[in-house]
């Protein structure tokens, strides 16, 4: 009998035996598939499903859940990862004061790799009769921190202010946006100011690919709730409520151009459920590289569905980038769900229980509830007593 002992868990400990570059940037690693430079998004379970991490020079769009709390959490993880790896950070938010967001970053779990190997005691060897070869392996997978890529955070703890101030984050809040934006007819003035600010930050920190510096680092740009009404955005409509306002796709295109020539990664969250014009969200998606969609169960009927009771929401990969190749990374499944424990946020494969009932009753709800016909004008889909 032959038995092949292989460790095929979600995180792989496989490391490519590459000649170490002289100027290896801390907190990055080359992708296993196409040698693209990657950084961690802050959530290791997310890194695994999008092919190792976020590629440097790309824009990641997160389509917000309806109440925005989970997408804000993802941004916090992204910003916390900047503090842990020493990358620079630019955080922009109109809905919330960025100072408040920075104060609430989760604290890291710092455990030695040495603690993990002395995990299993001899008493546990009796538990495994058939799988006895695995009993010496650590129960959790937190031990794979052999490289400084991807940290685990504890949501009950808050990151120390000294750690955050060591990376000197640049914060852009609504007061600054209101004050500094200038009239512009091609582009929403606030977006234009944000672009200007990003360009300034890239130039100041020498992140551009054309500049030669000794100590290369990465700039992480986190934009919270772009396209919300506080950015002077009316769901894609111009001020006359009839024409479309293409400022947001133009902004995303200009942002992508900036990212491509800089050692920077941008993570944006957009409340796409507010954009009810058909096709508009499709344009936004095409303008970005990685697009992820979060659909939380909070306050919806799905909360009561017993299949979803372990999870807090669905997580969809809408789009993955094809960088210098013909294909994008294809994960083995596209059904993911996320759960928020007291301390941890994880994204997992969605396992549905088997359907054992005789009468398989299909859900009667509309499969695409957020796509209504254009209601930009006064007409609504519901009968209205004031209609004449």
């Amino acid at each position: 009998m032959f038995t092949f002992f292989n460790c095929s868990m979600a995180t792989t400990s496989f490391q490519k035996k590459a000649r170490v570059k002289i100027n290896q940037i801390p907190g990055t690693k080359p992708s296993l598939f196409n040698n693209q430079l990657l950084i961690s998004s802050g959530v290791p379970s997310l890194d695994n499903i999008i092919g190792g991490g976020l590629a440097v020079g790309t824009v990641c769009l997160i389509e917000e859940d309806v109440y925005g709390s989970y997408s804000r959490l993802l941004l916090k993880y992204f910003s916390a990862e900047a503090a842990m790896t020493g990358h620079s950070l630019l955080l922009a938010s109109a809905d919330q004061d960025p100072q408040l967001i920075v104060k609430e970053l989760p604290g890291p779990i710092l455990d030695d790799p040495g603690d993990v190997t002395k995990g299993n005691t001899p008493e546990q060897s009796e538990n495994m009769k058939i799988a006895w070869r695995y009993q010496h392996l650590p129960a959790s997978q937190a031990g794979h921190s052999s490289s400084k890529f991807g940290h685990y955070y504890d949501l009950t703890k808050v990151m120390e202010p000294q750690l955050i101030s060591s990376v000197n984050p640049a914060l852009v809040g609504i007061e600054e946006l209101e004050r500094e934006c200038k009239e512009c007819k091609d582009l929403n003035p606030k977006y234009k100011y944000l672009l200007k600010r990003i360009k300034e930050e890239i130039d100041r920190g020498h992140f551009s690919t054309t500049e030669q510096t000794d100590k290369r680092s990465i700039l992480r740009i986190a934009v919270h709730s772009l396209g919300s009404p506080l950015w002077d955005e009316c769901g894609g409509l111009a001020s006359n409520q009839e024409d479309l306002d293409y400022s947001l796709p133009r902004f995303l295109l200009a942002l992508r151009v900036l990212m491509r020539s800089a050692f920077a990664v941008c993570m944006i969250t957009i409340p796409t459920h507010l954009f009810q014009i058909p096709g508009y969200v499709g344009r936004l998606r095409k303008m970005c590289d990685t697009v992820l969609h979060m659909d939380s169960f909070a306050g919806s009927d799905k909360e009561k569905n017993p299949a979803f009771k372990e999870y807090h929401g669905l997580f969809n990969i809408v789009q993955l980038p094809r960088l210098n190749s013909l294909l994008c990374h294809m994960p083995d499944t596209l059904d993911f769900a996320f759960k928020l424990r007291r301390k941890k946020f994880t994204i997992e494969k969605l396992h549905l229980p088997p359907e054992l009932s005789e009468t398989a009753n299909r859900n009667q709800e509309d499969p695409l509830p957020h796509l209504h016909p254009s209601t930009a004008l006064c007409s609504t889909t519901k009968p209205n007593k004031l209609d004449f």
């Binding site: 009998m1 002992f5 009993q135 007061e175 919300s228 769901g235 009810q276 007593k385």
Partner: protein, 298 residues
Amino acid sequence: MIGDIVSGSENSKIVLIEDSIDANGRNVLLSYIVSLSKITEEVHLLLFDVRGQDTQEALKSLGIQNVKVHRASTDLLQWDRSQGIGLHTDIKAYIRERLSPGTKSVAVVIDSLSPLLTHTSPSFTCKTLHELAYSEALRSQVQQVVTLLHGDLHDDNSLSLTHHTCTTVHKMVPITTPYAMFCCNTIHKKVSGKVVKIRESFNITEEYQVTEVAEVKQMSQNLPADQNQLDPTANLTFNLSLSDKEKEARSQVILPYTYNKERQECVLAKSVGEGKIFYQPDEADDFDEEDPDDDLDI
């Protein structure tokens, strides 16, 4: 939930009461004003609506002292260049000038937001609400901003943008249960991030207190899961269960892959990343050391 929010035990920065022709929301607005007049030092009431005088008169009859009423001019869009509050006046600066010195907690109530939403863009309305609640310009702390909105005057897009900015939305619906005067659907976003969505019926007394709040449960469409779970092992013609003696005999069986001290010595090595092949001959295997190719005669 609505009782808690009105009384102030549940924190909510921006409250929106959305009513319609079928269900009036002005009473809920008045109960908010009455409650806020007790919690905060000053309540500033801005009247943009045509029926704003109803609210003003109701308050006058109650005789509450610390509510300051600001009537907007009838020329809201300021076509006649008249004085007074118009839709484009900077409301926060206006209120800041009229604050009594030394006030620490203020509440702002707007009756109603509909003229603002109709004549200006939804983003301007949302920014106004947000600035009133959060900006540093109002030197006192604004405890809460409460506003009324007539849902049937606006389109879905504007309404959804306004809902997005508010932390609590009460949507008044026609009453279905007997013995209650009002019913509303409430969506409340707590500070912790949790969202509560509830449908409640309640009464409002003559002093504009919210009482007898009761949840109205919807008829559940889904059958409970327990009913549908069939047990596949029931109703079979053969026996699938085990007696105790049989269970004991089962645990005695030596399975081929279990740990056997005679056969393994150093298998518990720490190799994690490598692939090692462990060969364990069965009883049935004929483990012959000789190379079978030795017989070949080439």
